[in-house]
């Protein structure tokens, strides 16, 4: 890949042909309509671990459709537009519940993102003198609330993962004390992609009658997750990653095994229900949904989850795992590159972290973007704990996040670019 066309406003025919080849159809939309070119190169979006792009067809249309034709406030009025808005929200609840095998759509509590859901679960359950167990690869969306709770008397044990991000469930069980009320784990690391053993830990939590909270930000829609099989009491999800909805959507699913009286709301206010009372409703989902919901966003989320359900998580997973292994193997074949994690796509999601010896991750990211149109994320990924675990703190890593819209050709083009950058350093 030569940068000889840098600066041209339009790529020549040969470059356009290359663009078509390099961005050949991924598993998703079988066209390259969503792709653009920059300085004569095909643009490659490898930052799906931060947010997925492009969204499947139907997502933007559903959002625009609600704004254009819907527009009522769910639960606040009883005219047809309000009821239709309520049906939009319900459809999204039902789709999300089906994806995670939740017992009841009304136990899906929508919020603005997975961080809010995790804050609801952690702040809503944990009290001074309670003990909580977590892992050393958690995102700051878990660690920051836990550190704040720690200052208020909650006891926190962080169980160390191995340098490849794997977690031994026995170590989690060993950390349990008499006052342990919760285990919180992400399903997969947002830094190295390593999948944590939620099924095994779920069984441990159940046997000790401990609440199991799972952060599915990196796996929801990309890796099978059955909250009943895994004995998950509280499942936090984001809408804008592998559920293909817009930003500003997410939520907490409350198992029917979890007594919702133990969950205190983060915010209180109007719900459209129990309006005769000045006290917050104690039933789900209203207890956790004060204020008008992001209904256009939930219309988009519903379309995104429908796309996942129609395609099938297994098919999405197979495509992403194949690309991930190709990327890992390719990176490992380049001199001067360190790839973090297990190196085995079967043990991780489509998130790959690496470094080029002697090169700042920020420089790698900038060069990939500026010179090759390849977008990734560099640095610490809001996750100092994981970087300390894998030995990359405070330098950080370069992170590629693949998705179902990506192709083998894009992986190969990216490997060529990384090989060129690494070669310049030698």
């Amino acid at each position: 890949m030569s940068p000889r066309n840098r600066g041209r406003s339009r790529a020549p025919a040969s470059e356009q042909a290359y663009a078509t080849w390099a961005n050949g159809p991924g598993e998703g939309d079988a066209t390259t309509d969503h792709l653009e070119t920059r300085r004569g190169y095909a643009m490659i979006y490898f930052d799906n671990a931060a947010t997925s792009w492009p969204k499947p067809s139907g997502v933007a249309e559903a959002m625009a459709g609600f704004i254009t034709n819907g527009g009522g406030n769910p639960g606040r009025s009883s005219h047809r537009k309000a009821i239709e808005a309520g049906r939009v929200v319900y459809s999204a609840r039902e789709a999300v519940a089906r994806l995670f095998n939740a017992p009841d759509p009304l136990r899906v509590v929508f919020g603005s993102n997975v961080t809010e859901a995790l804050n609801l679960a952690l702040n809503g359950v944990l009290r001074p003198a309670d003990h909580v167990v977590t892992s050393s690869v958690e995102h700051n969306s878990v660690m920051r609330p836990l550190r704040a709770l720690e200052r208020r008397g909650v006891e926190v044990t962080v169980v160390a993962c191995a340098p490849d991000g794997t977690l031994d469930p026995d170590r989690v069980e060993c950390a349990i004390r008499q006052n342990t009320v919760m285990i919180v784990l992400n399903h997969a690391s947002n830094v190295v992609g390593t999948i944590l053993p939620v099924t095994e830990v779920g069984a441990i939590a159940r046997s000790h009658q401990i609440i199991f909270l799972v952060d599915a930000a990196q796996t929801g829609g990309a890796y099978p997750l059955d909250m009943q099989d895994a004995n998950i009491g509280l499942l936090a999800f984001t809408g804008h990653k592998s559920l293909y909805g817009p930003m500003g959507t997410g939520g907490l699913i409350v198992s029917d095994r979890f007594d919702s009286d133990r969950l205190h709301p983060l915010k209180r206010g109007g719900t459209g229900s129990s309006s005769e009372s000045e006290e917050q409703p104690d039933f789900l989902p209203d207890m956790g949904e004060s204020g008008t919901l992001n209904v256009p966003g939930l219309a988009g989320l519903h379309a995104g989850v429908r796309w996942v359900l129609d395609r099938g998580v297994a098919r999405i997973r197979a495509h992403e795992a194949a690309l991930t292994q190709r990327l890992i193997d390719g990176l490992r074949s380049i001199a001067g590159i360190t790839v973090y994690g297990t190196g085995d796509a079967a043990l991780q999601v489509a998130t790959v972290s690496f470094n080029i010896a002697g090169m700042d991750p920020a420089e790698v990211g900038l060069r990939l973007d500026d010179e090759y149109g390849i977008m990734c994320r560099v640095g610490l990924h809001c996750c100092p704990a994981a970087h300390k675990t894998i030995g990359t703190f405070p330098r950080g890593t370069v992170r590629f996040g693949l998705g179902p819209m990506n192709s083998k050709a894009q992986v190969d083009a990216t490997l060529d670019a990384v090989r060129t950058l690494a070669g310049r350093r030698r």
Binding site: S78, I83, G86, Y90, G272, S274, E276
Partner: protein, 75 residues
């Protein structure tokens, strides 16, 4: 016995009402979401209007689907 052909199902919130509508629809039972009559409750929001003769079937279907019912009132 009420003289009306209808009854209403009062539920905690519009989320429950819409789930109830969905459950009844799947069970082949007709219902309509209407504003809660002020004579029945001071709550704002919607309730499910059903045919009086479906009352038992509605209660059974909603209970099986774990839709919370506050009460069912003849109109």
């Amino acid at each position: 016995m009420s003289g009306s052909a209808y009854a209403v199902v009062l539920v905690p919130s519009s989320s429950h009402a819409i789930r109830g509508e969905h459950v009844l629809n799947m069970a082949g039972i007709a219902s309509k979401l209407i504003p809660v009559p002020r004579t029945i409750s001071s709550e704002c929001g919607v309730c499910l209007r059903i045919a009086h003769h479906d009352r038992e079937a509605v209660e059974k279907a909603l209970n099986e689907a774990r839709v919370l019912i506050h009460r069912i009132v003849d109109l």
